[in-house]
Every structure is written in C-alpha cells, then in structure tokens.
Amino acid sequence: MSETTSTDTAPVAKQSGKKHPLLLALNTPVGHLLRGRVTGPVHRRTKAEPEQRTELSAEAERLIDRVVKRTRLWPSEKREVNAELVAHFADGYEAGHTTDELIESFGDPVRSAKLIRRAKRRCRPLWWQTMRYGRNVFGVFVGLYILLAGYLLLGENEPEVNYLAKLNAESRSVPEDERAWPLYVQAGLALNADPLHEHHSALGKNDRIDELPYPGEPGWEAVSAYLDDHAASLDLVERGARKAELGFVVGRQFTPTECRLFDLEVEKAEQYAFDWREESLVAVLLPHLSSMRDQHTLMLLRARRAAMRGGPDQAMRSIDLALRMAEHVHGPFLIDQLVAVTLANRTFEEVGRLIQRDPKAFDDGQLRNLAHRLAAVNHSLQLDFTGERYFLKDVIQRIYTDGWLGSGHVNLAGMDQLLQMFNLSQRMDRVYDGSPALFHAIEGAAMPAMAVWMAPRNEMERKTEQLYSKMGVVTREPMWRWDELWNEGPGEVFHFLTQSSMLTEWRYALIKQLMPSLSRAAEVAEHARAKRDAVLVAIALEIHRRRNGSWPEALDEMTPHLLPEVPPDRFTGEPMQYVLRDGDPLLYSVGIDRDDDGGRLPAGRTDNSPAADRNERARSWLAPDRWKQSKRDGDLPDGDWILWPAPEG
C-alpha cells in the first residue's frame, strides 16, 4: 500500500538527481536486484536527509539511530523508518516540545524497534512472505527429520530365529554313515579331476544329456570310454544314490574336501561372507547342485549305454538311481527344488528317448516296472516355498529392529546390511572413492526417509506370509485350474510384483527384490509332470503295439488295463492329445492357445527357429489377462506342445 514517491526521497536520487534507469540498475546491489528492486547504490548511511537531521539534537539523533539499527530491516525500510521518526521529532520541536519531552514520550526504544521490525516485515511483498513461510516449514521439516533420524538410529536388530538351523535340522539328524553326500563328494572329486567335457572336443562343458551322443553316433566312443574309465567313481555315485537321505548341510561353512570339490578355496569362500551373515540364509551357497547335475548326467549315460547294449536291468537300475538323485537334490530352497524337477524331467525325457530309439530294449515286464517307477515320482516334482519364506523372514529380522509390538524399523545397521546384501556398498565405495565417512553420512541422511516409506517389520512379515500363501495355489493345483483360481491369490501376487504403484513398490521393496517368480517355477514342475505322463503313455503304447501289432486308434483303448486313465492335458484338464502321424504315434498338449492343431508346432519367432524353441513357445503359460490380450492381438502361438517323441529339426 505504500506509495512512496521515491524520486523525492531516495538518497541517491537526492544526491545525484534523476539517473538513467539502466545506470540506476547497474549501480544497484545484486541482493536488491534479486529481490526485484532497482534502488541504485545504497547509501551507507540510513539517516535522514541532512537538512532534516540538522534540526535534531544529538540525543534525539542517537535515539533514532539506535531504534533504526535495532530493527535490522532492509536498508530501504530503515531509511523510511528513519525519515518518519526524524520528521516526528522535527514536528515535535515545531510544536514547542523539548528533546527531553519527546524522548520521554517516545517509549521504550528496544520494544519500539522490535514492534517496528515485526510490523514492517508484515508489509513486505508476497514473494518474501511465501519464502519465509516456506523456510519455516522447511526448518520444521528438517527438525522433525533430525528427530526421526535420532529415533531410527536407536534400536537393535538381533536375529531371534536361526532359520538356517531350522532348515538344516533334518540333514543334521541323518547319521554320518547314512548320508549320500560324502559319497557324492568323493565321486565328484575324482570326476572333477577328469571332466567329461575335456574328453572329447565335441563335448562342450555343461552339455545337456539330450545333446550327448547315443551309441553309434559320433563322439559316443569317447563317452563310453569315459564311463569305463570312471566306473569306480560312478559306482560311488550309485552307492550314494541308494542312501535314503542326502545329508548336505547348507550354509557357507564347507569342509576343505568340499571346498576342493566346489573349486572354492577357503579364502575365496570368505569373499562371499559379510560380517553379519554368520548363520544367515543370505550366506547360503548351494554349490553342490552343480556337482549333482554332472553326476546325474553320467548316471543317465550309464542307463543309455546299458539300455542300448542289451543290459536293461542295469539301465533300469541307473534310471531308478537317477530319480533317487533328483529326490536327494530336493531341498528347502526353490532353487534346489527346481534342480530336482530338472533332474527328474531329464530322466523322464531319457526314458522317452530310449523307448523311441530302441523300443525293444525293455521287455513288457521291465516296461511295466519302469512305468510304475516313473509314476511314483512325486516328491521331486513338489514345490514349496519354505526356504524362500524363511529367507525373507531372516533378512527382515536382520535389518529391522525388534520394535514395539512388532513394529520394528530399519535402522542404520540394518540399512548397511541391506546395502551389502545387494552389493551396493562396493558400488557406493567406488562412487565415494573409498571415503566411508562420506558414504555413511549420506547413508545416514537418507536412512530416515527410506525407513519411513519402507513398511514396518510386522507389516512386511505379514505381507510376506500373505503373498507366499496366495501363491500356494500354483503349487497345489494343476495348471489347467490356474485360470479359474487366478483371482483367488496368484493374480494378486502377480499384480503386486509386476504392476503395483511406485509407492507400493517402494514400501515393499524388500519383497519385490527378493521374491522369485513363483508361477514360472510352478510352471516348470507342471511341464515335468506332462513329460512324465507322456512317457507313461508311450510305454503303454509300446506294450499295446506288441500285443496288438498296431497302435491304438485312441488312448482310451488302453485304459484301464495298460493305463489307469488317460493323463490330462496340463493346459485344459481334458485327456492328453494323441494322433498317428506317418504311422507313428504323437502325444501332445493343445498348448497355450488351448486349440487342437493336430500336433502341429507353432511358428517360431524367426523363420529358422529350431523345433525345440517352437515347442517352448507353445507351452509357456500366460496369466489370464495377458492371455486375453495376446489373443486379441493375435500374438498367441498357434500350434501344439509336442510331448513325445521330442520334435526334431
């Protein structure tokens, strides 16, 4: 509201007359320009103009100077206040009052300065008021943040449950001489000294069993010689496979012998260790899986050689032991359960290939026994998420404080552990050039914000249980029921993991980071069941052909004397599909498009996609909403999933 006629009153203007606006701006202090005020050079003195000052006594002038100085206002404001007070005194003199009277009536100069400052600041422009308000709010926020940081720094995160011990309880309870693992270790050490892939240039490392040669094919002689050379080691593997329990103790503390097997020096093993990870599930390494896979491959090669060289009993025994090895591998973690499924599936596929390549390798009784053995495989194909649930709970108890009524928070030590777990510390160290103090300062400053948005301990634990419980549907129910049950649990988890809002994603970042794709894992187990079922049907077909001289027209011709029932198509729950093509049987599922294409593979992603890739496309399950979308878009692979015999080309 002030309508100051600055041309009359501004000290510069008074001294130098009117100046060009540009000149005035050039002479204005930067601070004033930033405030949007073109004042020209600031007169150092904020006192009134000389002609007015001369009217005042020295005492009055000192009083005014004192008040004006104490207001600590902007220079321009001080000048205004000063001019007004000087004018007031001058008017007082003119009215006949003395300096003493005027000073007495003035009031308390300190209080006056305070009130003037407060009132003048209220007159300041809106932008200044806004900035002041914002600064105050920011100050309050910083204060609260510091208090919160102090609170969050407090609290211990002492793990209460030794989940590793819980998971190892069963293995530890197996007497040493009843454990399979020591025998696998001995065999593995001997085999590692002379690995199969170094025996023949055609054999690449980690070759899959289905890519290794059969008798009569190039490279087979080398494989056969290898099996002979390492017969003693393979006998050890067989002895191990006959044991009831594996007895492998998971963790990160291995014996020197185990370290040699895993090609893991003790010093090297220490690199994997974090200070906090003693007895932690994060510290768990599962290096035995690789060795078990290699030995399982050799067991199947033994079965292959025996079956195709007239030794069906030995072949049957090796197949049985290969399936036992799969059961041995089956542990509490999803990863070893998936390896167990893979080993069982490879065994099913090997049996399927043997029946296809040499149908007469086994007599009817042996085929029936084989079928019964395969049908009995159940445990190896089961998935449960015990290890994964324990894993998340273990991480939670190590990064969260105990908290009041379970509402613990992530403290500095916990955050540090979290960063180490994701190997972020090493990355950060590089960023901060090895300055841990700076890193920890930044970490400490960011921690309250992170701890605030991260769900409290009890909520995180509840969510973990809830999600794993909901996903249980895909492990309990066959794949053809997933669609109808999707919205009862798995769909919610799928939505949570893939489509949740950024806020939810941040809140449950721990789960989002650590929870594996459970539906994909369950799908792998379903694929193995389908393969097993197809091999059972293939065995029945072979027996039927031997008895009748021809293949059946339909699979139900073989029930119930050769098959208790026709196994289900895993995609529909309807009987498995069967067709005679060029006089030979073909077993298949309608595949992801749920449409019978007569046993035809879908097109590949490229023109020369191998048959295995095309078959893979046909069997990849899609969540209902994505399936509908793909159907609308015409993206669903149009073809069937061939189960037996394996498609070639």
């Binding site: 509201m1 002030s2 309508e3 100051t4 006629t5 009359d8 009153t9 103009e49 007015q52 008040v67 205004e80 206040v81 001019a83 007004e84 007070l85 004018a87 007031h88 001058a90 008017d91 007082g92 003119e94 009215a95 009536s105 003035f106 009031g107 308390d108 100069p109 209080r111 006056s112 009130l115 003037i116 407060r118 009132a119 003048k120 209220r122 007159c123």
Partner: protein, 117 residues
C-alpha cells in the same frame, strides 16, 4: 489516565482509523490528536503508534505516501483505504454495542442528554 495495554490494543487501532476518516494525517499529528481529543486516555508514543500504523498498512486498512508539506518538510501521510473504511464502520458498531452493554450493567453512565431520542 491511560488505558491498560489490552484495552489499548483493542481501542488504539479503531481510534487511529477514526482519526484518519476525515483525511490523511502524518504520525505526529495523530499522536497529538489522540492525546488532545481523548484527554490523554488514548495517548501513545512513537514506539506504539508507528508499529501500529505499519500493521494497519500491512493489513491494507491504511495506505501511506511521502510528500512535502507546505512547510517544505517531508512527511509520511496515512489515509484510510476502502477496506479500512469498512473495518472502521464494523468496529464502530461493535464499540457502540459494547458501550451500550456497559451502560446496561452500570459500568458506564448514561451520556449527557441520553434518552432524548
């Protein structure tokens, strides 16, 4: 007799607004009039008046400008704004009701010639 601070806090701004109603005035003039026209009851020193004027200005009830008086002296003159006029009317009505209420319970006597209307 001077008013206690709390009473002065309520009465002072209304008094200043009232004095500005006829036309613009400068600070010393307001001090003098407040003292003379209220027999010193509402007298206030510079330490009170100027912060009060700045507050009224911040609230948009008064506006100020600096100009040279006939004597050649530069002074800051204050005048009522439209908002100030409305505020004065509202405060005046409230003060009247307050005085009537005080009269009703005998705190304040009947004005001379009261009841003629």
């Amino acid at each position: 007799m001077k008013l206690e601070r709390e009473l002065m806090r309520g009465a002072g701004p209304t008094a200043v607004l009232k004095l500005l109603e006829p036309g613009e005035k400068y600070g010393y003039e307001l001090v003098e009039r407040l003292s003379q026209q209220t027999d010193g009851v509402l007298a206030m020193g510079q330490s009170t008046l100027y912060p009060m004027l700045y507050n009224l200005e911040a609230k948009g009830l008064v506006a100020s400008r600096e100009r040279k008086a006939d004597s050649g002296r530069r002074r800051r003159y204050y005048r009522l704004t439209g908002k100030g006029k409305r505020k004065l009317a509202k405060d005046t009505a409230q003060w009247k009701r307050l005085v009537e209420a005080m009269q009703g319970i005998g705190v304040v006597g009947e004005p001379a010639g009261g009841g003629a209307g």
